[in-house]
């Protein structure tokens, strides 16, 4: 089970029982990294399992690829000028 997170965040290391649910993974993260747990609860960070966005009851197996995904920012800039850099 691998975990990744974009940015300068190091990989997380967690112990979660095989067959646990995503919510168990989140609970384990919260215990060790409360600020990341908070971001997950606020939906600022999403959890993916095998490259698909997971929900709380998604079951995680030992061979699964689990990732924590900060807000995406692909593409170029904003659709509209909402940036306040021109009045």
């Amino acid at each position: 089970m691998t975990k990744m997170m974009a940015g300068n965040q190091p990989a997380l290391s967690l112990n979660v029982a095989n067959g646990a649910k995503v919510k168990d993974v989140i609970a384990a993260i919260e215990a060790g990294y409360p600020h990341i747990g908070e971001l997950i609860h606020k939906k600022k960070v999403l959890v993916s399992v095998n490259q698909e966005i997971a929900h709380e009851d998604t079951i995680v197996h030992a061979s699964d690829e689990v990732a924590l995904l900060p807000p995406f920012a692909g593409g170029a800039g904003h659709p509209e000028s909402r940036e306040g850099d021109h009045a």
């Binding site: 990744m4 600022k44 800039g77």
Partner: protein, 149 residues
């Protein structure tokens, strides 16, 4: 539907470090069907301003595998949901200087209205569901950009 497209996804959906040529990618799309009459394209380039700050360089990172998977899904849904003949998506990663290409969407259709619709939908969708992150270097330091909080 669009079974002719299967197998060639690798050319029509790419996440790559290198720059791309519009002429070359347009030829790729155009060569798919002599019925194509309207081609709508979106090209995103690196701006020197973002959120009121100067930017002198942008770095994109992607979640290898999942990024490609999501872009393939976008292409497949576009081919299904819009009356278009081809859709190509390229997103670059790594360091990108101001003025350089970041992302390209090309939608080829018989008629232009559908080409525009599919192209706009695809770039909106790309920003929503593709695991790609952007680090902007400004005079105040480097910042990971959060597009939609």
């Amino acid at each position: 539907m669009n079974s002719a497209a299967a197998g060639s996804d690798d050319l029509f959906v790419r996440v790559q470090r290198e720059n791309f040529s519009l002429d070359q990618e347009l030829d790729r799309v155009r060569s798919r069907s002599t019925r194509i009459g309207g081609i709508a394209t979106f090209l995103g380039v690196a701006r020197d301003r973002s959120r009121g700050r100067d930017v002198d360089r942008i770095t994109f990172e992607h979640y290898e595998g999942m990024a490609q998977k999501k872009l393939r899904e976008i292409r497949e849904r576009a081919l299904q949901d819009f009356d278009i003949l081809e859709l190509l998506i390229i997103h670059r990663y790594g360091e990108i200087s101001i003025g350089e290409n970041i992302v390209l969407i090309i939608a080829g259709a018989e008629h232009r209205a559908e080409a525009f619709r599919a192209c706009q939908w695809a770039i909106d969708e790309l920003k929503q569901i593709t695991p790609i992150w952007k680090l902007e270097r400004t005079p105040d330091g480097e910042v990971w950009v959060e597009e939609h909080p």
